[in-house]
């Protein structure tokens, strides 16, 4: 190959390399930006008086005085809207049967939308479900509901070759001439007066229990469950992995048995996580009966099996990278093999071992599949430390999936889902960051 071609090749490789790094960075940005933006929105947002009332009633937090005065103001504006509703209801009584039936079917969605915005309307029975006991707690959601009050969504089916298109029809026109007509402009004008929006910092999002399947409240049960599962998995996998690595590097004689063990370990590292999930169900719960059904213990054991190969490998590499001279020095001083491992080799290998451990911890925190059948429930309260042997727990990874796909009111609580995603990403990033720092610190100490 002549110099010219070699240079061109070199340069194009450099370009391709740089290009792929830039693409990766951009992709990361595209993924992370909405996560961070929306996730932060679960803590910092414009909250309504409904949010403050909810916090006060359900969690006993908030400034009772301020809430009282704000509620009084809001109620004054709401009373006007309520009056329009009841006036119209009375008006319908006096209408012809035909007209009243027509209006009634159009009026029902308006009433429902009002109730969704403001909470139970006067005269309605107190709903059983917490989710219906309050109006909209977030300002942007309130605006969304206002839109539902103002407009009826209709579908345009005129062109059968394309998908039907949605279009808005102002309800004000449909109720023109009735006593309900002024409601629409009133609601539009006085939304803020009725809702009392206010910039809110809701740290409780991380520490509160969830109310009515995440409609209100926080994600503490998930955060705690994630920690329980990940740390539980480490409690099993870390010591076992380090011991296995010591065995592989210091004690195992090269041979058939050892190579079988080694390849088993490598294979295990490549097994899809859902397989571990099913294995965990079949082995830990059905066969070993570590618990009646799903439990943190069963989930932690399953996760432990999943991360074990990674820990073993990282520890093996760390141990092998310890200079042989340390071992010689220790043995030369009359140390036993075991003592040498404990007092010299493992301390010197510690940075690598810890890095592998924390990266595995992050993986255990993030995996969903292994805990579906073994530990995770979609709704539940935070469990006590004593319950880990028998109780399942919510966990971030599983609940993110649940909120995204299975939750009946998923579209109403996107902010909760984003908040969970951000929490999980932050936890994993923090763990990895602490691994890097810890490693640097120990390495520093070892280097002197």
């Amino acid at each position: 190959m002549n110099l010219g071609t070699r240079k061109i090749l070199d340069n194009s490789f450099t370009a391709v390399g740089m290009g792929s790094i830039v693409v990766m960075a951009l992709a990361l940005l595209v993924v992370l930006t909405p996560i961070v933006y929306n996730g932060v929105g679960s803590v910092f947002f414009t909250g309504t008086i409904e949010h403050r009332t909810m916090l006060y009633k359900e969690f006993g937090r908030g400034d009772a005085k301020a809430i009282e005065t704000q509620t009084a103001t809001a109620d004054r504006y709401r009373a006007e809207a309520y009056r329009m509703l009841s006036d119209f209801e009375q008006e319908m009584e006096g209408m012809s049967l035909e007209a009243s039936r027509q209006y009634r079917s159009k009026y029902a969605p308006v009433r429902a939308a009002m109730s969704s915005l403001l909470g139970p309307l006067p005269g309605d029975p107190v709903p059983m479900l917490t989710r219906f006991q309050y109006g909209q707690t977030r300002w942007e959601k309130a605006e969304e509901k206002l839109h539902n009050i103002l407009y009826e969504k209709k579908w345009d089916y005129s062109d059968p070759t394309v998908m039907a298109k949605a279009f808005d029809v102002p309800r004000a026109e449909e109720f023109a001439g009735t006593k309900l007509a002024p409601l629409f402009s009133y609601a539009e004008r006085h939304l803020a007066d009725m809702m009392q929006p206010q910039f809110t910092v809701y740290w409780g999002f991380f520490t509160d229990r969830s109310l009515d399947a995440h409609i209100f409240g926080g994600i503490w049960p998930e955060i705690q469950g994630t920690f329980f599962l990940a740390i539980g998995a480490m409690l099993f996998a870390f010591p076992l992995g380090v011991i296995a690595a010591v065995y592989f590097t210091e004690y195992a004689k090269e041979g058939f048995f050892t190579s079988i063990l080694r390849s088993a370990n490598s294979t295990l590292a490549g097994v899809p996580s859902i397989v571990f999930g099913l294995f965990g169900l079949a082995f830990f719960i059905n066969t070993m009966k570590v618990s009646e059904s799903k439990s943190v213990l069963a989930g932690a054991l399953t996760l432990a099996i999943m991360i074990l190969p990674t820990i073993i490998r990282a520890a093996e590499e760390a141990i092998l990278s310890v200079p042989k001279t340390y071992k010689e020095a220790s043995l030369g001083l009359g140390s036993t093999k075991w003592n040498t491992i404990v007092t010299v080799i493992l301390p010197a290998a510690l940075p690598g071992i810890i890095t592998g451990g924390i990266i595995s911890l992050g993986r255990a925190a993030g995996e969903t599949a292994p805990i579906i059948f073994t530990a995770a429930v979609s709704v539940g309260s935070a469990i006590g430390i004593a319950d880990v042997f028998s109780s399942p727990t919510p966990a971030l990874s599983w609940n993110i999936y649940n909120l995204a796909s299975e939750h009946e009111m998923a579209s109403e609580i996107r902010h909760v889902q984003y908040g969970m995603v951000l929490s999980l990403v932050s936890i994993v990033l923090l763990l990895n960051l602490s691994a890097i720092l810890l490693r640097a610190k120990i390495s520093q100490k070892l280097k002197g």
Binding site: K253, E328, L331, G332, L333, P347, K447
Partner: protein, 283 residues
């Protein structure tokens, strides 16, 4: 080729033709001179390869014995066999007899851990642990059950003094040993070995990684320790062998070609091969 027991000081035979310094007079060591390590038809193999061939020799106590020879002739292999460091190499095995204080080093009942406590080793490359200076020296004593801080402090100081390092590091015992210079690290390794109170010191090219100044310090140290310990030093530097040792073994391709009092071996070698080597005709 058992060396003869030395009683009197060696008279330097003035041999100005060779640029090797022969000490004019070496004091005999009182109480020394008994066969400390004895090899009888002792061979060492790596798999099928015989790296050390049927060595017969008595290493005399309290004296300094140098091992010289061209690279790859088996010097390190022989030295490491004495405290069984070769056990770390799975393919390595021995035949014949090697005795330490009359006991079979490779006997079935021999505890190699105990053996290594009595036969300390310092390696070619300084290899302090990535711990503090204090912990490095205290490593051995702690290993053998010493926990009392006062006692440990005493032994650390004593060992560092013996290794001529105390004055340089006494104010920073808690610093990481890897921060020391190469020469200091090597003396630290000597001190660490001395802290276990061994009977024999094995030094495998202890100065090959050091500059001349640090080398001189290590050589002085060996002179200091001579008489208190049986010392064996591998070196490819003949001047060094002549400077520090009382006896010299010359190995060539695994065979112990000549073993004699240092002065004699360098001034009046019996074997042609030895003569060729020390006059630099091959290396």
């Amino acid at each position: 080729m058992t060396a003869e027991h030395k009683e009197s000081a060696v008279e330097a035979q003035a041999t100005a033709t060779r640029d090797i310094y022969i000490p004019s007079e070496r004091a005999s060591v009182s109480g020394g001179g008994r066969p400390h390590v004895v090899a009888k038809d002792f061979s060492i193999y790596y798999g099928d390869f015989q790296a050390v061939k049927k060595v017969n020799a008595d290493i005399l106590s309290q004296y300094v014995t140098a091992i010289i020879g061209p690279s790859g002739c088996g010097k390190s292999t022989f030295l490491r066999a004495i405290n069984r460091m070769n056990d770390l190499i799975p393919s390595c095995h021995t035949t014949g007899m090697l005795q330490f204080d009359g006991e079979d080093v490779y006997g079935k009942l021999t505890d190699e851990v105990l053996l290594r406590k009595k036969i300390g080793m310092v390696f070619q490359k300084p290899n302090p642990f990535p711990k503090s200076i204090f912990d490095n020296i205290a490593y051995g004593p702690r290993l053998h059950g010493m926990t009392d801080r006062k006692q440990l402090q005493a032994i650390v100081e004593k060992s560092l003094r013996k290794a001529a390092l105390w004055d340089e590091v006494s104010d920073r015992l808690d610093r990481n040993a890897l921060g020391l210079s190469g020469g200091q690290q090597q003396r630290l390794c000597v001190a660490r070995t001395l802290a276990v109170e061994p009977e024999i010191l094995l030094l495998d090219e202890p100065t090959s990684a050091l500059d001349p100044k640090a080398t001189a310090k290590i050589e002085d140290l060996i002179q200091e320790l001579r008489g208190s310990y049986t010392i064996m030093i591998v070196t490819h530097n003949m001047q060094q062998a002549s400077r520090v040792s009382d006896y010299t073994m010359f190995f060539y391709e695994g065979e112990l070609v000549e073993y004699a009092e240092t002065a004699q071996l360098f001034t009046n070698p019996k074997d042609r091969m030895t003569e060729d080597y020390i006059t630099g005709r091959f290396s």
